[in-house]
Symmetry: D3
Subunit: 312 residues, 6 copies
Amino acid sequence: MHEPTDALAAPRFTGIRTFARLPHLPEIDGADAAIFGMPWDGGTSFRSGARFGPEAIRSASALLRPYNPAQRQMVFGHLSCVDAGDAPTVPGYIEETLTRIEAYAAGIIAQGAVPIGLGGDHSVALAELRAVAKQHGPVAYVQVDAHHDLWDSYNGKPYNHGTFAKRAIEEGLIDPARSFQGGQRGSLYGPEDYEVAAELGIELVPWLDLRSWTPEHFGEHIRDRVGDAPLFLSFDIDFVDPGLCPGTGTPEIGGPTGEQALDLVRALRGVNLVGADVVEVAPQYDSPGQHTALMAANVVYELLTLLAIAKA
Amino acid sequence: MHEPTDALAAPRFTGIRTFARLPHLPEIDGADAAIFGMPWDGGTSFRSGARFGPEAIRSASALLRPYNPAQRQMVFGHLSCVDAGDAPTVPGYIEETLTRIEAYAAGIIAQGAVPIGLGGDHSVALAELRAVAKQHGPVAYVQVDAHHDLWDSYNGKPYNHGTFAKRAIEEGLIDPARSFQGGQRGSLYGPEDYEVAAELGIELVPWLDLRSWTPEHFGEHIRDRVGDAPLFLSFDIDFVDPGLCPGTGTPEIGGPTGEQALDLVRALRGVNLVGADVVEVAPQYDSPGQHTALMAANVVYELLTLLAIAKA
Amino acid sequence: MHEPTDALAAPRFTGIRTFARLPHLPEIDGADAAIFGMPWDGGTSFRSGARFGPEAIRSASALLRPYNPAQRQMVFGHLSCVDAGDAPTVPGYIEETLTRIEAYAAGIIAQGAVPIGLGGDHSVALAELRAVAKQHGPVAYVQVDAHHDLWDSYNGKPYNHGTFAKRAIEEGLIDPARSFQGGQRGSLYGPEDYEVAAELGIELVPWLDLRSWTPEHFGEHIRDRVGDAPLFLSFDIDFVDPGLCPGTGTPEIGGPTGEQALDLVRALRGVNLVGADVVEVAPQYDSPGQHTALMAANVVYELLTLLAIAKA
Amino acid sequence: MHEPTDALAAPRFTGIRTFARLPHLPEIDGADAAIFGMPWDGGTSFRSGARFGPEAIRSASALLRPYNPAQRQMVFGHLSCVDAGDAPTVPGYIEETLTRIEAYAAGIIAQGAVPIGLGGDHSVALAELRAVAKQHGPVAYVQVDAHHDLWDSYNGKPYNHGTFAKRAIEEGLIDPARSFQGGQRGSLYGPEDYEVAAELGIELVPWLDLRSWTPEHFGEHIRDRVGDAPLFLSFDIDFVDPGLCPGTGTPEIGGPTGEQALDLVRALRGVNLVGADVVEVAPQYDSPGQHTALMAANVVYELLTLLAIAKA
Amino acid sequence: MHEPTDALAAPRFTGIRTFARLPHLPEIDGADAAIFGMPWDGGTSFRSGARFGPEAIRSASALLRPYNPAQRQMVFGHLSCVDAGDAPTVPGYIEETLTRIEAYAAGIIAQGAVPIGLGGDHSVALAELRAVAKQHGPVAYVQVDAHHDLWDSYNGKPYNHGTFAKRAIEEGLIDPARSFQGGQRGSLYGPEDYEVAAELGIELVPWLDLRSWTPEHFGEHIRDRVGDAPLFLSFDIDFVDPGLCPGTGTPEIGGPTGEQALDLVRALRGVNLVGADVVEVAPQYDSPGQHTALMAANVVYELLTLLAIAKA
Amino acid sequence: MHEPTDALAAPRFTGIRTFARLPHLPEIDGADAAIFGMPWDGGTSFRSGARFGPEAIRSASALLRPYNPAQRQMVFGHLSCVDAGDAPTVPGYIEETLTRIEAYAAGIIAQGAVPIGLGGDHSVALAELRAVAKQHGPVAYVQVDAHHDLWDSYNGKPYNHGTFAKRAIEEGLIDPARSFQGGQRGSLYGPEDYEVAAELGIELVPWLDLRSWTPEHFGEHIRDRVGDAPLFLSFDIDFVDPGLCPGTGTPEIGGPTGEQALDLVRALRGVNLVGADVVEVAPQYDSPGQHTALMAANVVYELLTLLAIAKA
């Protein structure tokens, strides 16, 4: 059982910065879940800096403790977790980088752990989905995000953080009929931008609709759509109101508070999570107190809690 | 038809920073709307820095795209828009500065475009109102703001960002009976501070009341009060909760989220907008991600959408 | 009658930074209320820096004006207030520091003023409570806070910002049966963490429950529980959503907005306030506009308003 | 004898922020020197914010101690000093502001203290010089600064931080034949910019020449030029390399280090100082550790040391 | 003759942010020199963010004036200059990006202007050199930089900001025998790292040697080595001490001050400059006053001065 | 042989942040040198925050490479090094904290490695010296620092960052006759402050004298004084000019550049180093690019180089 250093015995500002002060074990060693970083920002269309997202999330995660009172569930101690370090990346070469991240995630999966990725810009999700689909076949996919990332290309090129979800559907990595995107908002290129989701078969609920859903309704809706399919959940930190979580590359006005977003994740009790990530944390744009990174750490914590509940 | 550079062809972080990457055309050239800056902070009573507001708003506005899904309306491409550059200002000389800004705004109006000003501290609105009233006579006036700016003087002098609205009424630039102020909050000098609005004939709805209005109610209320009169809308960024939009000079705790504020602007479909501004953006106090400037850019975008709807 | 410099006569960015630009009178001189600083951060378990909290709150408090429209109450001018300076502290020596702060607060109380402390990490509240209890006996105690601070020890030591409330009960400084803690959230060490409150006899309402209370319900509930007992109110700034108030040492995702938190304080009209504090402001982690310090200044202002109402 | 709080008895981060923790005594009370603020930035041609310069310098000055080892001179304890608070200013009205600052400085002089001003943009020096010249007649004047501030007008107006020195000569406040400007650098409007100094009769030594002077040579040169005339010394913080002191409004690459600049001030032992200032500190642009404000506090400390030496 | 807006007529904080407030003319229109941006950071090995370098340099360049007193030379007004906007880039695709930048630079050269590039990470220099060499054949090349950028590959890939100079030699774009690298410092991979320069035939003078050279010696040495060959000069901002210019991606302790670095550029009077750049400005890491961007703007100004001298 | 991850194989922004990306091995495992953190700021007299110094230094140290060209010495690969994690600390309890740090350092020494500590405020050096002296007896001691830290007490208490060096002499941990302090500057409490060094028998060379020493002279002088005694070297980062290294708690104007400071450390070739530290890094006050932390990482690197030379 791998678990964090006890904060009542060693202050939380001490020790090497792994996620939640978990042991750093790239070889996984029987863990149920492995958190790993994807330090990459070559696929971002506006502000870069997300390559330092994993470092920032790890630093902020020192504040986490073992028990989740919102879910009445022990997380650490109950679920064996490790920090598996960072996947390799190559600045300037997005296609090669995706290949290397895929291999790294596949290695974690091969060791039997659920991979929880720390981004990095959202293009990395394509690599994770390739690794997950190789193991599980086309997966159910839930993405909360201010953008749908279903655009076709940017500047004439196919891979980046605004196109990866379309690529994932085209590559057969996800099953659109069991998949869902929510939280989209902000200006678009044209009215056809949201129509593409329907054409691709994936459900898209923009934020202006989603904001009236209760967490309970969200949970039920997702469970209905996903069923018992293996699920990959992708949490783009820009889903949260950037006034609260400013440390991200392509912010859009509006969105849930951090608390509301955590409520939505908590409502997913019962899904069959086989992989997840939290992406687009760009610490150079974060508040001095790194609230965005702290939020991302808490999202990971709620994801781990879902795994802990499933294991319980 | 003047419209922005296409972000799918040239990344949004490229190019000279005009508003929304529109062409910089001080001569207007037939545009429907002209965004212009008023780099001035000599009228502010606490934190200066708003002279760099126009630069910051332009920089953040690179994130805007042509279609507004909240209003189901094409904006750019449908409405011809330009960035008309900055009005001239003279540090230290508020009266001369107001004269120069007025002339600049009058020039835009004379070319047939609706002027949309980027502040600058709120005292600049007096100059805009003088220009607009010269063309249209006393206008309807809607101001959302944490302050009413109806004080009589500061330190013995008549012109600054806390007195301009009273001056505008005294000068006959606005028609109080068709005007409205909303969002006021925070401590005051005395109970008489809000009573002055009634004395001057302008409707004032403090935030503690306004916060329970739905956007629909707000829209109907304003349309009732304003009627089909030419309307000038002034959006003080400190209307928004300064925890979310910290980049401003005289913050007051509370207020709407950015999303709630945009909803209110969107609810004004149908008004006869002849001028508008977004003021009090002080980027030195903004979050590292310049969320305040981004919010201001989005308010301008919603104002342009109102014009686009009217044109449609 | 001690009151602030008039902002209409001297700009708010002028003058020595005392709280609200009140006179600096360590000797109190008949004031009804005395604001004083407790510059100490030796008891914090994560991010230090709160020793500069009093300076930051004083700086931000220049924005306050005499009349509180939310309570329809004159504050300054009606209530005589002073800034009593800072209590002495000794870096590295928490027990000696608590002794010195206690003596300083006791001196204020002996002069007949209600002490309003500016923190400083939360461990300072133990010193204040010792001073208040010496005068009034065990007091009613209301704490709004993301944490309950009822842990038993940290790293084997009894005094710090996470244990002071347990110490205060053990020392008989507060009457648990008339006391209340609200707002707790975030991960815990185990399910027993919240149970300790019941064991100690103090009521604890976690944020996930408290968030559905109206201010009116909160006010009634507290008045019922506290009765007419002398009340000490401790406001930990981390009660507020750290996305809005990031300048604090141990942030937890979620919590009320600043406006909601002020509403709760305002709802306490009628209590018998004999002391209060606002703690855990760490300006190094605050937004560039120091919104956290501004919020803290407004909380103090609402506390003064409660005193003003009681005097009226 | 007015002197600061002892840092060995009360930590330097405690107490109300007056200069060096001196008593705040606007009425002077027999002090030899009175430090006062001039919170004004309406005369700046680029970045505003210097209105918060006095606050920042006071905050940083908590680090000062009584003895100056570089000059082997006790300062505090030997010289009676007070913090006289801030001169009044009126945002937006430079001419009125200069009148009010002049009256404030004249009041200090009338009480027999040497006024040491904290800026504020450099235009305030005109007000100080008017007050000093009223008492002493045309004074010797030494200005170290990246700019000469001898331009004739900006945007058609006579008063601002780039023209005040020419105004001072024109008004007969300073005796050019006993005056000196050093440190000027950066791009100019044309070759005539530096020739104007000769035409006005004031000596100007640009930084590219001054940088090869030793402090000893500088001291002798100034003493030769100034003689025993009453001297006003104006230290523009932008004299120092803005890489080291970034918190200023119109930085120019190059200049001395802080240490070199202090050496130059120290070399002025023996002059007859009747007034001085340190200006152009804009804390919004300063390093997080507020090094610019700390430098300014140290310059004031060296100025006080010159007075202490003269008194010894 | 294209020249900047006059700062004595319109304040420097007004107007659209082009370089030095020059006209934005992508079509060049007969200009002698064209400043253009290369917003790209996909080739950086540590901290990203240089894609916003051009924006930051343009913003800071508002402080420039027409006359260079250090060289006694009018620059603007004498030399016709334009801001040619930004070259296109494609995030994630370094090879495609280099192709697009090359085409953009070639377009400027074809119009007869000397291209002055604003980076962007240093990999962009390969694109510029390809464009310049296409016109002029292998050019003389001078690079001042904390690194030599002669490494062979990173993470198995050939193109990035640490390998471009080796690629440029291999592609025959520069003539090593007429080329020079100076300023290298910091830790290396092994003793062979500096030997590779000799093997490639380019002269390399590490900073620990270069720091004892006078500007005059530097100028003579370069003129001797370069002769009258067409020269491309590449100024990596990390050449300057990162304590002074922190806004860069791979800082190395030490290096010249900004003033010393400008002296070196000034000493190059007489060279035959056919192209130049200033690279590696990453504004997210810059001081709040953006000193790094200001330094970069001044380097460009000195480069323009060299062109102005050559034209005179 | 423990050495860092190869940056040519894995980008420097990847991986868990240990010092220089060394393996994290608290058990040392035969290493020649062990870097360890001392996250403590309870002993600081002004700005706190140094508890995050070790994290910041580790993060910045990712930029280090194996070969030191200034010393022509391989460091990593030649010297086996590990990151031994952090010593335990207890906020609020300085005496207990010193005991725990001493035990941690003693553990490293017992394993045969040279301990290199990352501070933390300077009070931690007392703990290290106790551990070192237990092994070696009274050691030679060299401290470069803006302060001598020989004061007797603060606020009536004996242990803090300004008194530890006196305590170390009193406890017989260092041999004053073989010890040296250099770099002291800034204002003092009185002329006796520097005389205490002579009384205690330790050599003190203030910065105003030291600044004229060449590195060679410094090296010879230290070697003469220290001889072949086991040496502990303490490098307070505030020795460096705080304009360049602002991230520290009690800055004093002036001091060497980072480059000059590294030259001094390099000049110590030949000493018998048995322990060392770099202290007082407070990242909250550092430049956005964390130059202070980068400087500290380079000082550690030079210390390791001295060990590597001794091993060679």
